[in-house]
């Protein structure tokens, strides 16, 4: 398939997934604050999750609720806000309309107009509903793509895009929450603490699934679940397994043997998570581990570009 087209399908999926994850971050924070004393309300961690605190400080200054929500949701000048992601996803979809199914196009088009209309509506009060709609729209898109587009090369490029984006976002949210929630060992075990950990799980839709397999809420259990679980669809390892499977469908390669830099980088990372334990991760330090993981994920993205796309993408 055309390199440009593969690239656009890849980014289409990344942007949809990114919008969904931003909605998750914000939604959970809003819910969490409803249970917290006013003084303990924090919006700053959300800015850290994006990694774009510099942009935020320049354009907004104080991390108030309104500022952070506006920044993450409707700011068209910030490239990773929900509205910017959905706009970019739609532009990419438009450039490959003849490749994707009409249903996918209609879904992304509806998604865009839903966000655009919301951006012109009243603020905050109606927003919780809005974030639920964003998540649903992203799920609908993934479902429509799954059931209306042939699982051909283009579909696999899209799937890789979604999986890499999701792995990256799960890593980020875990990293930031851990950092915020466990600044020192003596904070462990207070009641507020548990609420925060539950919120972290909920922002990945992982609370119920976690309870089924680990029962008790512990920081270590949560980290292990979100990094290493092979079955939970938002865990990093699960994303890597899926991405690698799609990659081999594209290249015709075999797991365990690499023939190009992407197969090597992705296979290496996946294998590392296959055999590492949460204790080993804690030994090197969770933050350091996640930091390294994000660098590896970026590197896989760069190698994807060099091997398959190597043409100016539409952003």
């Amino acid at each position: 398939m055309l390199s440009r087209v593969a690239d656009s399908i890849y980014w289409l999926n990344r942007y949809v997934e990114r919008a969904e994850n931003v909605a998750r971050f914000v939604d959970v924070n809003i819910n969490l604050l409803l249970d917290s004393p006013i003084a303990a309300q924090q919006w700053e961690p959300l800015v850290y999750t994006t990694g774009d605190q510099h942009f935020f400080q320049q354009h907004y200054g104080e991390p108030t609720a309104d500022n952070v929500i506006q920044f993450l949701t409707f700011d068209r000048t910030y490239p990773n806000s929900i509205i910017s992601c959905v706009t970019a996803a739609r532009e990419n979809a438009r450039s490959v309309r003849e490749i994707i199914s009409s249903e996918m196009w209609e879904q992304i088009n509806d998604f865009y107009f839903m966000v655009k209309d919301a951006s012109q509506g009243p603020h905050l009060s109606a927003l919780s509903d809005f974030f639920a709609k964003v998540k649903l729209a992203s799920h609908l898109f993934a479902g429509v793509m799954d059931s209306t587009m042939s699982h051909n090369e283009g579909w696999h490029f899209g799937h890789i895009g979604r999986m890499l984006e999701r792995a990256d976002k799960t890593a980020r949210i875990l990293d930031v929450k851990y950092f915020i929630l466990l600044p020192s060992v003596k904070d462990v075990g207070t009641p507020l603490d548990e609420l925060q950990w539950i919120a972290l799980l909920k922002s990945t839709s992982g609370y119920e699934m976690y309870r089924k397999c680990q029962h008790r809420i512990t920081p270590q259990g949560i980290a292990s679940f979100l990094i290493l679980d092979r079955e939970f669809p938002r865990s990093i390892q699960s994303c890597l397994i899926h991405a690698e499977r799609s990659l081999h469908r594209i290249t015709g390669g075999t797991p365990g043997i690499w023939r190009n830099p992407v197969e090597r980088a992705l296979g290496k990372l996946r294998a590392e998570l296959d055999y590492i334990t949460i204790e080993e991760i804690n030994q090197q330090g969770l933050h350091e581990f996640l930091d390294q993981l994000e660098i590896s994920l970026n590197d896989i993205g760069t190698k994807m570009f060099e091997l398959f796309f190597a043409l100016e993408p539409l952003r």
Binding site: L2, S3, E91, R94, S95, R97, E98, E106, D110, L314
Partner: protein
């Protein structure tokens, strides 16, 4: 009753013979519309427009940076063409395309028509669309204009005329197909009861037309549609046609000439392209052959084409036939090449470079429509009777400064079709653009795109000038209405 107050007035109305008296082919439609309340009609109109918006049948509005998209305003009252009219039009269009194709072969090769003095040589050599790099070109199977759109109008007396030829990249066929799809859900019962010729086989016919000129000996030639990109106003159509034909949609940056072939960059390396349906103008095709500053083009493409390793549709150089001065010579071409009389007449045309004509034009600017020979989209045009004295003065200067670039025609009173505007029916002027494919045979898609001037009293139907679209229903031969 919705149509009770509708008065076709002193115009040729495509649906009504006179007040409350629908044409025979329109009786069923008018009855059906009369059975609905105005609210229902307006709801259906709204639903139809929303459906088109949802399909993304939009064009970008360049003037604002908000990325605003609009659909072409769509009116749910169709235009009906009778079986007898269509039989005659189809014949006339085939004849015209046949003659124009022979003309293109001739002027880029032997130039017999010039040597025999039927068309003055300087008319050709001064035409913007005449491309010297195309001299001696022999396109595959002798076909130049694979896809054309010919604009037809009807005067007050119902007489059909050819208004202009579009042999470069005529757009609009996607509206025909999408409008029909929407209309079928707007008036399903009417479609059940009337015999309306379907339009859905256009993509299949287009694919056959393109495959017909593929280099021989290839078991499975690769066809691609070349678009300037998603910011082009006709991008929806490019992508729609590629999708409907199941072929690649490519941009200039996807293509490269390598090893003597045109190739596209894929995730698995370079892959040959054998037939290119290009939707960019000649000038931008190949910077080595035409405009050196073209960012859209593919260096070396013309060389591959001349070596017969690639087919282009339409062939480069066809733009000369869009020149409105050359249009005036089509009746002579038909006679010269086919020995026949032209079936569908031209609008009488005054050529400003001819002294006698120019004098008449300047004296009668208030009665005439003046057009620049190489403009399209309703630009560079003066509608004399509706213009201010200053505008007429301005055009008089332009004509005397550059007479070769202007023609003039009497102001026709275009036929009208009732159109739903603000909860009432108004007669609005229309034209018709049928699409013609030149493959193994010449094929005319039934009907075509009816453009409608939505500004009250306006005669300009171009989408860039406040025009909209209607579905066009051609009644099947021998149908009992």
């Amino acid at each position: 009753m919705n149509f009770d107050n509708y008065d076709p007035g002193d115009f040729y109305d495509e649906l009504f013979l006179a007040k409350s008296q629908p044409r025979p082919d329109a009786v069923l439609l008018v009855e059906r519309i009369n059975s609905l309340t105005m609210e229902e009609l307006m709801q259906r109109q709204k639903a139809a427009q929303q459906a088109l918006f949802k399909l993304g049948a939009t064009f970008n509005v360049y003037s604002d940076n908000q990325g605003t998209e609009r659909i072409l305003p769509f009116d749910i009252i169709p235009r009906i063409v009778s079986a007898a009219d269509w039989r005659w039009l189809e014949q006339g269009l085939k004849q015209r395309i046949h003659a124009l194709n022979l003309f293109l072969t001739d002027i880029y090769n032997e130039q017999k028509i010039l040597k025999d003095g039927v068309i003055p040589e300087n008319v050709i050599s001064s035409s913007k669309g005449f491309l010297h790099p195309c001299l001696g070109l022999q396109p595959p199977k002798g076909i130049w204009c694979h896809i054309s759109g010919i604009d037809l109008v009807r005067d007050r007396d119902g007489q059909w005329y050819v208004l202009e030829d579009n042999m470069r990249c005529p757009s609009g066929i996607s509206y025909v197909l999408e409008n029909r799809r929407v209309m079928k859900s707007t008036f399903p019962m009417v479609f059940n009861q009337m015999s309306i010729l379907p339009v859905d086989d256009y993509p299949g016919q287009l694919l056959e037309t393109l495959l017909n000129v593929a280099p021989s000996g290839l078991p499975d030639p690769t066809v691609a549609v070349l678009t300037p990109g998603m910011y082009n106003s006709a991008y929806f159509e490019h992508s729609f046609l590629a999708q409907q034909m199941g072929v690649e949609l490519v941009e200039g940056r996807d293509l490269v000439v390598a090893d003597g072939y045109l190739q596209m960059r894929t995730t698995k390396g370079l892959k040959r392209v054998d037939v290119l349906y290009r939707r960019i103008d000649d000038d931008f095709l190949d910077p080595l052959a035409f405009r050196p500053d073209s960012m859209l083009g593919i260096p070396g493409l013309m060389e591959v084409y001349k070596n017969g390793r690639l087919a282009l549709a339409n062939a480069p150089g066809t733009g000369v036939a869009d020149d409105k001065v050359i249009y005036a010579y089509v009746p002579k071409m038909v006679k010269y090449y086919l020995g026949e009389d032209q079936i569908i007449p031209n609008v009488p045309t005054y050529l400003c470079w001819e002294e006698h004509d120019q004098k008449y034009v300047l004296e009668n600017l208030d009665k005439l429509v003046v057009k620049a020979a190489n403009e399209s989209g309703g630009y560079g045009m003066l509608v004399g009777p509706h213009a201010t004295p200053e505008q007429r003065e301005d055009f008089a200067h332009r004509i005397t400064a550059n007479p070769r670039n202007y023609i003039a025609q009497p102001t026709l009173c275009l036929s009208r079709v009732p159109t739903l505007i603000d909860g009432a029916f108004e007669g609005c002027h229309v034209d018709l653009r049928p699409y013609i494919l030149y493959g193994k045979d010449i094929y005319v898609s039934p009907g075509g795109f009816t453009r409608v001037a939505l500004r009250r009293g306006s005669l300009v139907v171009n989408s860039s000038q406040g025009g909209g679209g209607k579905d066009t229903w051609v009644i099947a031969e021998g149908a009992q209405q």
